[in-house]
Symmetry: C2
Subunit: 375 residues, 2 copies
């Protein structure tokens, strides 16, 4: 990552002819027109957004585009995970075509991960691919979903099962817009920031332990946290664009996390994704300790930091009853494939020393869950 002249950090994602820049900093929405016009030939853009985000940022973005000679139209969808399904996809494709977006024009995603995933899919299939710009507005989208090119919608058979790999042409992560994000959503995104430290950046985790307060209050520290996260994700994506190997490390905390999301029926009142990941990361560290891979002190340290910022850290922190351990195990087995009673998990050998373990006995996982279950 490099510091740009104007307070923005820049992370370059070197994917050959699909290479792109991620800019991170304040005031990027106001500058969006210039940045997009400099990179994209077309002079039309279709902004895909949700009602919450539109209320704050649609107008400033449209004005910025207009000031750079880009004619913008908007597709405003309802907020929430349900928007990642076929009907909104169809509606968005239709409106983008009605706006006469051509191959050199852009679809611009203005919103959280839901909007980014949907709009990226739309950009990938309208006219078999038009240009695509991500303007992520949630912390989770800025540090995770807007980078890496995975786009798509959900199916009744599972999450993210229909989509395309579609790298954006540009990502603009405006650190100012996080001011209107709810504290709970900010914390949830922060869990993914911590994840990058725990995968392979112990010094970043240590820095977060000391500076999280600054990250939460904005300014330089926040930009640094986002930029470090984007760089970490970009590194993994460049090493493994199509997710055949090391990209799996990004799933640290996610196997347990997904099981908990399923167990709470994706009810965001009880649990949002980043919260599930926070609990999942603690469980992964505790399980690593149980398997004698890492010291239990590491797990306690991770737990202490996540608890300090206000994230849930154990199953007991989830409001309402959870299904019994066997049912949680079923959810895990659905997420992962079980081969000869063995599972693939992301475990750790120490702080920031995660690795892909592909021979974890399912029986050990069930026994562990029984011990952890609030009952």
């Amino acid at each position: 990552m490099t510091a740009a002249t104007d307070n923005a950090a820049r992370v370059h994602v070197p994917l050959g002819e699909r290479a792109y820049d991620i800019l991170i900093g304040p005031g990027l929405i106001a500058r969006a027109g210039r940045e997009i016009a400099a990179r994209i030939k077309g002079r039309k853009a279709a902004i895909v957004t949700d009602e919450n985000v539109a209320a704050h940022y649609l107008r400033p973005l449209s004005e910025s585009l207009a000031a750079s000679g880009i004619e913008a139209s908007a597709v405003i969808l309802p907020p929430g995970e349900k928007t990642k399904s076929f009907e909104p996809l169809m509606e968005a494709c239709d409106k983008v075509l009605a706006a006469r977006i051509e191959r050199n024009d852009a679809v611009v995603a203005l919103g959280g991960g839901v909007i980014g995933d949907l709009a990226g899919f739309v950009a990938g299939i309208v006219r078999r691919g038009v240009r695509f710009v991500q303007i992520p507005t949630s912390l989770l989208a800025q540090v995770d979903s807007s980078v890496g090119g995975k786009t798509g919608i959900n199916s009744r058979h599972g999450k993210n099962l229909i989509g395309v790999f579609n790298q954006p042409d540009l990502v603009l992560a405006d650190s100012d817009v996080l001011a209107t994000l709810s504290p709970r959503e900010f914390r949830a995104g922060y869990a993914e920031v911590v994840k990058y430290g725990l995968i392979d950046k112990p010094e970043f985790f240590e820095w977060l332990e000391g500076s999280w307060n600054d990250v939460f209050s904005g300014g330089e520290a926040r930009i640094r946290a986002i930029a470090t996260s984007c760089q970490a994700k970009a590194d993994v994506v460049v090493a493994d664009e199509r997710e055949n190997g090391p990209r799996a490390l990004l799933n640290l905390g996610h196997t347990f996390g997904h099981a908990l999301e399923a167990a709470t029926e994706y009810d965001s009142k009880r649990l949002v994704h980043g919260e599930a990941v926070a609990i999942g990361m603690v469980l992964a560290h505790e399980f690593s300790a149980r398997m004698n891979l890492a010291s239990p002190d590491i797990a306690r340290r991770v737990e202490a930091h996540l608890r300090a910022v206000g994230l849930p850290v154990s199953m007991a922190d989830i409001p309402g009853r959870l299904p019994p351990p066997d049912r949680l195990m079923d959810a895990i087995a659905q997420d992962k494939k079980v081969k000869d009673g063995k599972l693939t998990f992301i475990l750790t050998r120490g702080l920031g020393q995660s690795f892909i373990a592909d021979d974890v006995p399912a029986s050990e996982v069930v026994a562990f869950l029984k011990g952890k279950h609030p009952g």
Copy 2:
């Protein structure tokens, strides 16, 4: 193209890591299990087909797959262009996921161009891409739509506006299945065969003039015609996979043709695509003569051959009334972009000497259409 041991011709499409084979010959459906098992790791396949084609070939294909240890399920859709739309796409994705098709398993398109275009899109987006096999059953699909990787559906804003580039892993063009295709559909596909001669293979056109009867009755000549066409399309695709330049030559006859399809409201009782292309190719040659690019004899020779096989060759051959020349011109201008009163057309300098002309005056086209219009 090379002759294979077993009566089948083989055309290799050298697209790097997306390279694939096209096999052309008799009995390929019976051999499909073996050919697919040899190239694809997974042992599951979802066959996407339409009711007409399923009635003849779904069982033999399923049996062939089963004999090679591939478990097959089927998605049977209504025949016709309407199937290239969002609802059937959604239904097919859902059924493919219900069949638990994973990234190394295959979606198999068994049908004409409608099924191939839809199934290829499904294969490109389910789990962000699973393996894909084309078993084209119409002549048009065998010589054109199954090769080249364009897949997709229609939108109310136009044809093929939503989709992905998705090269198949294998194309099996079984020459036997054309026996059940209606003579009219066979002729329509034959117009595209003639097209390859007229683009840049005068000797192929001459051979067709002498051997079309053998091509229509089956056997060696038919296989040769299909294989030569596939090779011609593959050559263009390899030169220009994403359609930025020379691939436009494949649109010979299509600018006039699309306008006529629009003018007849895509009513297949009046005109099917290949018929529109036949008329369009004659018009393109006549227009080239009018522009003093080629001798009028060439146009007459093209017309004579197409008429001999039973294809329509002029607007007067279309049953029912046509909109006036100005309205046809509007349809052309919608299909192509008009820049400063100039259009891009595929024209010719002689037999098999087509080229991309990007400065055709719209006024000349209107004047020409006025002369040709049946009134």
